[in-house]
């Protein structure tokens, strides 16, 4: 279910490393918790993000949630499609629902993140 080539944070973001770039999104667990996503607020391209800094905001009908960057870097692209189709975060959270692409500052940031196996175990601890 959770792609094995991603890293995962305790805040339910995923990171996929491609060379010195990282693609970031929210996990399937996160989208289920949120419910129908109706609005996504994205940062401007060029924004410098520290580890755990707020990337933006995801809103469902009922809830407002901050999304945090699991790694540090500079925003080089944002998923503009989410402006018109925020529901992609629900339908394809690990693919078309990606949120931002970063130029990574320090690849070692991923060492503190979980693998898919670790994340699934982590979820077992929270899911009822």
């Amino acid at each position: 279910m959770y792609p094995t080539d991603f890293f995962y944070s305790k805040d339910h973001e995923w990171v996929k490393i491609e060379g010195d770039e990282a693609i970031i999104g929210i996990t399937d667990f996160a989208q289920k918790q949120l419910g129908d996503v109706v609005y996504v607020e994205l940062p401007p391209v060029g924004t410098e993000l520290d580890v755990h800094q707020t990337i933006g905001v995801v809103e469902s009908v009922k809830a407002v949630s901050d999304i945090y960057s699991p790694v540090a870097g500079r925003v080089i692209a944002v998923n503009e499609n989410l402006n018109d189709s925020p529901e992609m975060l629900n339908s394809d959270p690990h693919g078309k629902g990606w949120i931002i692409r970063l130029k990574i500052k320090d690849k070692a940031d991923t060492e503190k993140l979980m693998t898919a196996t670790d994340y699934e175990k982590f979820l077992e601890g929270i899911e009822p």
């Binding site: 419910g35 129908d36 109706v38 609005y39 607020e41 905001v57 809103e59 469902s60 009908v61 009922k62 407002v64 402006n83």
Partner: protein, 365 residues
């Protein structure tokens, strides 16, 4: 946490449970948007057993209800229902509620879950020399709401009364799925529909039969999430958000529930005075015209000055717009007035619009 008698039904249907004023209630089943649209286009079934039920009966029941509430309960025939308020002497809300006339000397007050104990204490404190008995029957009642254009068609074969002759805001005792119940043509969604009250200790059969019968009509079970978005589109007030003990009935734009000529009632003097002097503020509906969703407590500005807060706000699943309610100084309440809503670190443009945001299309005979 308290559970309703339909808790098992919600578990079976995969309802996501949350705490709501001490109750463990489903917030959603399939998803808020899908449930919302089902109610607008087909039908939805809600467990609203958390609502409070208070019975006032006795020789002075009518007079006491008249004293507690601004609407004219004297106009109610037996089995008729009325939207009204429990008012403070300042003309503000202890609660908003439905009053059912069960008999000439017996009234059922259906109040908000969060307020049922407060209301009961309030009513007792106002009893004085009125010859009445007041019974907080909240724990004995279960309540369902079946709402949507297909509601009557779904319910009809399950009951022994003719729903075709039941007008809005009327009620009747009936058997529903074999269970004795009080059925009224009322609701909190802006759609046609029914609310079903029962004292049966095992009412799950009603839920199950409606779900089963409703399937072919596209009925969905609906949680509190869509209940909130549906009521907001229809501009129905939510106690604790839009109205409370600091807002008067007039400020809440509910003058129609005040019947000044009916005789004395709590808050009458304050409300007459406010009417005479002119309102200083009033609740209005607005739409956000830029990107962003207004949420309760976000600040509202007119001409750069803070005027108040969003009392209710959401993404409207049916209108696909961001909508909300706020109190504005009376000079800014006209439709078309431009406002701003503070959303995080931005101010987004909004405009005052006529309400309700959603009105159901007139039924074609």
């Amino acid at each position: 946490m308290k559970r309703t008698r339909f808790y098992g039904c919600h578990q079976q249907l995969g309802g996501r449970m949350i705490e709501f004023f001490g109750w463990e209630m489903p917030v959603e089943f399939q998803g808020i948007i899908e449930e919302h649209l089902a109610v607008r286009q087909k039908a939805g079934l809600f467990d609203v057993s958390h609502m409070g039920e208070i019975i006032i009966q006795g020789k002075d029941a009518l007079n006491f209800v008249q004293y507690l509430t601004p609407n004219d309960a004297g106009r109610l025939a037996v089995n008729q229902v009325q939207y009204t308020a429990l008012t403070t002497p300042r003309g503000t809300f202890v609660d908003d509620l439905l009053v059912y006339c069960l008999a000439q000397d017996k009234f059922l007050l259906v109040v908000n879950a969060a307020n049922s104990n407060k209301d009961y204490a309030w009513i007792l404190s106002q009893k004085g020399s009125f010859d009445v008995e007041v019974d907080n029957a909240s724990d004995r009642f279960s309540q369902l709401a079946l709402q949507g254009p297909k509601a009557a068609e779904i319910l009809q074969p399950l009951t022994d009364i003719d729903l075709g002759v039941m007008k809005p805001f009327w009620a009747s005792w009936a058997r529903v799925a074999g269970v004795e119940a009080l059925v009224s043509r009322t609701g909190y969604t802006g759609e046609d529909g029914f609310e079903i009250y029962t004292l049966s200790p095992e009412p799950a059969v009603i839920w199950n039969e409606i779900i089963k019968r409703g399937e072919e009509f596209g009925l969905l079970p609906v949680g509190l999430g869509a209940r909130d978005t549906l009521r907001l589109e229809a501009k129905l007030m939510l106690y604790g958000n839009d109205i409370d003990e600091t807002t008067t009935v007039l400020e809440a734009d509910l003058k129609w529930i005040i019947k000044f000529k009916k005789g004395d009632f709590l808050g009458k003097e304050a409300l007459s005075k406010q009417l005479e002097e002119g309102l200083k503020r009033k609740i209005v509906g607005f739409e956000v015209v830029e990107r962003g969703i207004p949420r309760p407590h976000y600040p509202v500005f007119v001409h750069g000055n803070k005027t108040g807060e969003v009392t209710s706000g959401t993404h409207s699943p049916f209108l696909k717009k961001s909508i909300g309610l706020t109190y504005l100084p009376i000079e800014y309440t006209e439709a078309g007035t431009e406002i701003e809503v503070g959303i995080r670190n931005r101010r987004v443009k909004g405009v005052v619009v006529p309400t309700p945001f959603y009105k159901r299309p007139d039924k074609i005979a």
